[in-house]
Amino acid sequence: MTRGVRLILDRIGHAWGELSVLEDIRLTAEPGEVMAVIGPSGCGKSTLLNIAGGLLAPSAGAVRMSGAIADDCLNPLTYVFQDFSLLPWRTVRANIDFVLERLPAAERAARVAEVLALTGLSDFAGAWPKELSGGMKQRVGIARALAVRPACLLMDEPLSALDAQTRDLLLDEFAALIARARTTTLYVTHNLAEAVRLGHQIVVLSRRPGRVREVFRLDRPLLERSADDPEAKALEKTLWRMIRDDAAVAERERAHGPN
């Protein structure tokens, strides 16, 4: 049974002053599934995630959750950040512990130990963030997120700050962890391989202002997928064909401004 809830993005629009970045986004992330959101740079992917997580008020529309939240869930909508967002003055253990402050000490310690074991960090519990590699830091980021037993994980390009080898290794770990946690996941990325590896729904946004161009569906369970799967490779090519022109225009706009 899933722990996840249905996350509904209902006619979301957003503008930074005069600049419209998102228009009429209507999406539903189904319980226990991963919705991967891709699109060219500047299309409003991260803005959409911040709106979904309640960190940014949308200019139009609303975000709703629907479903039962488990009793042990401390934070239904929980982020995993691109830059890890670890507190450098806390050890790995303390970085996880501090988001559990509402729990009694014994339960806190048990949850910390559980997620450290789950992410292979048990031997690094006393390490400072500065002593960890990028991949290890992101493992702490996901351990911290899983510790609050979320109903929905919001992942903002969690692998983009890592080198290619670490990214591949962590991608497999993410697939296993997400499948085990059975949460709903909104996964924003610019990497098509990540989207295809993890997404049950793959949402393609247009360049700014971001609109939903198409939603693809992949029903194969996460643990049965592999990077070499021909179906996945074919979908990756299709996605690239779809966004290539938008990506090129977005890149030129980044260099010269939108005009």
Partner: protein, 263 residues
Amino acid sequence: MAQIEGPVRFRGGGFSPRNRWIAGTATLLALLAVWQAGAAAGVIPTLFLPSPAAIAATLWRLIETGVLWRHLSASLARLGVGWVLGTVFGVATGLAAGLWSATRSPVAAVVAALFPIPKIALVPLFIVWFGIGEGSKIATLGFGVFFPTVIATMGGVDNVPRGLIRMGQSFGLSTFAIVRSIVLPGAAPAILSGFRVTSSIAIVLLVAAEMIGAENGIGAFVLSAGNLYDTDALMSGIVVLSLLGLTVSGAIGGVERVLLRWR
């Protein structure tokens, strides 16, 4: 076209000075030796600058007779109370200014208007307000410590990465928890750097305030020794002030090593 053959010349290295405590100690000892030799040879007139040995002997006599402790304890009490008051109010005000729009501009305006005033110039005013006793001296210290602490704390809060605060919010932490677990530790390096500055300022203001109106205290002792041309005692007082500054700086360094060991 020029022909070239031979090893590549090393061009790296340098620009990474290292601390060698032996060199530092040796330099100080050498200076003391030259000073002592100059005084013994009559090159340095001891009425104006007594020899290190004479200063040490006087300092020992002051310790033995309890005179030093009488003055030092009075100074330490003023320094402690004044610095703690200025620091507590300064950190609280700096935090408020760093965290909330409602307090930011008013605090910034008051700091901009009052910080540049030389605090020593306010000692006579504080004597009028708080009397010639302890009140005026503690107020001088507290006032002098308050403003740099506000500035350091405010700057420290401003420099806490906003991404970390958003992370705290995204986990549903209360404002109090975010301030306690993210803002304060994030601002701690700047606040502790501020402590180094304010402790030096506090010692300067302590001596100035004690010179203007006090019977006890290292500042009063130094002034009275100067009036009597007792340069041995005067220099002993200065040595005590120097040691006081070193001790305070060492204590802050120790606190930094413990609190900022994550860096």
